[in-house]
Amino acid sequence: MKIALTGNPNSGKTTLFNAITGKIEHVGNWAGVTVDKKEGQIKSTLNRTGMEMTAIDLPGAYSMSPFTSEESITSEFIRTENPDVIINIVDATNLNRSLFFTSQLLELNIPVVVALNKSDMTQKKKTKIDIAKLSKQLGCPVVETISTKTNNNGLETLISKVAEIKDNDQVAPFVATGVKMDSKTSVEASDKKRFEFIKKIVTSVENRKVSSNKQTSQDAVDRILAHKVVGLPIFAFIMWAVFSISQTHVGPMLSDILVGWIDNLYALVEGGLGEGVSPVLSSLLLDGIIGGVGAVVGFLPLIMVLFFLLALLEDCGYMARVAVIMDRFFKRVGLSGKSIIPMVIGTGCAIPGVMATRTIKNERQRRTTAMLTPFMPCGAKLPVIALFAGVFFGDAAWVGTSMYFAGIGIIIIGALMVVRITGEKNARSFFIMELPEYRFPSIKRAVVSTASRGKAFIIKAGTIILLCNAAVQIMQTFNWQFEVVAEGAQNTSILASISSPFAILLVPLGFGAWQLAAAAITGFIAKENVVGTLAVVYSITNFIDTEELAVVSGQEDIASIMGLTSVAALSYLVFNLFTPPCFAAIGAMNSEMEDKKWLWGGIAFQFGVGYTVAFAVYQIGTLVTTGAFGTGFLPGLIVVGALLATVIILIKKGDAKAQFKATPQKA
């Protein structure tokens, strides 16, 4: 039995889906989090019928006439896949708007059960809804649900109603007749009639104590947090606080415990190996696998604390306000107002972030957003940020915060460039997003979200990162004749010979060592590999001090082993963050852009940006700190000059194209 879960954006569909299936799909307290359908079996504790019930969570939609691509997924699914029953999740706090879609669903002759969700919030507002009357007027069962609650949430009743009505014929209380779909006036007239019908129902079933026109305390908070001037500095402060807590205070304390366990494991295995074991095998096991993976896993608590705090921010409704704050900047540079959603999602992982660009209708804006979203530092880049902030900047929270804001700055400049290069007129876009009400964040939801990310991190560390570290260790141990390289002669190894040519190109950026080049290359497989590879090639067993509760043990020692100044380290960090993302994210870019020219152009742009920004950071930083430019200034300047010249030529071509389009053509 196939059950489609539908409803307006942010009505709580995914939370309800997770509650009835036991899945852990990402939920967010704002619209547009689900952009694709998800499928799961109804939990046996809720399904007492013995029938196999499959729930399909569909993206939010306001109507059956799709305006966005995710809405079209919903309407297409319902029209073509013939679900047995539709569960229509209705936001009880906003009946007027939600029932428009409900009335359209009721016309499809598929049995509908209305889940009147967020019932707890209506109770708080002292709004009373006559459920029996609403059910009678709609002609379908209505069940009150609170999907965020564990018990007495109405979900068992909801599922039993689904089973009850599965073979029923659905009678529509309102049928739109004589609508010409190709006529805007006709559609609008029909919608008007439908709204009038809904209004009548709502007036008869709802008793509100608080008028929606009244200014509430929530509005007062919004006037500050989403303010066009102070909103941005408040966002910067919040991000700084998040980094400060996760990477300077709580995170390192927890990491200390974990690293202690990893150290004990290392010592145990080292002791167990005893004498007589080949140094090649023991170093592969100890340095390549335990050391390399351990170095990455050591950062897990920092990342989990950070994700926990971000989940709290999202759940309380603040991230939706960030979207509003950023909207006006993005619109001015030719991006869609909706571009902020992929970028916020991209802070967790670039892949779903890029995937979320499909909510953008304008093709150029969608492709540009897919190209620029990976500039937001994702979760995989956090160990790299934490490592460099710890080694070179004393765990300073400003490093992480500034990387996020640098990402936003690059996105804005990049968007301006793309508009000029494509020569397309800046399309006016409207970003209408319903702001969710502020609520006390759910610790449980944040813990579940953090735990699922932590599990993913461990699986990735035990698979891709482990294999990469083992390969790096082997390539570092042997030369091309497959002979073990002598101690201190790693420059002759396979790894050194592969990465050295790349290292030469990186000299103007302040890091010409082949080890650093190798780490940057393995970062394209998964960004966490940068940390793992650095641990393997420099034989550093862990980056976290177990005695001083600091992120890095022997900071000065590690800095000197890497041979980097603070400025060069910042340049290396910037290079790893702002060059193309991992291959999986590039694959997602390919899927969403649907154009090879855009894909390769995007990758070239990302390389160009990463190289140019790292060059500027190193050379300007070195000039400021030492009074002279750094190594390789002139060759680097030639490369960067060539990149900028290419961009200027492309912009000129784009301008000419735009001018040609703007000039009236003779027949």
Partner: protein, 56 residues
Amino acid sequence: MNNLVVSLILLAIIGLSITKVVIEKRKGVKCIGCPHAGASKKVTQIKLDGNNCGCK
């Protein structure tokens, strides 16, 4: 003898990692370990758009 044992341990660890990667890839997971990939793995059965991974 010690070398043989260590070699077997190494092979087992690497073999397990490769197996896990292969299993995940066969499921259609694009990014190994992704917590959101599992829920949509059966999407191909309802033949919406041929995707079998939530990340696609």
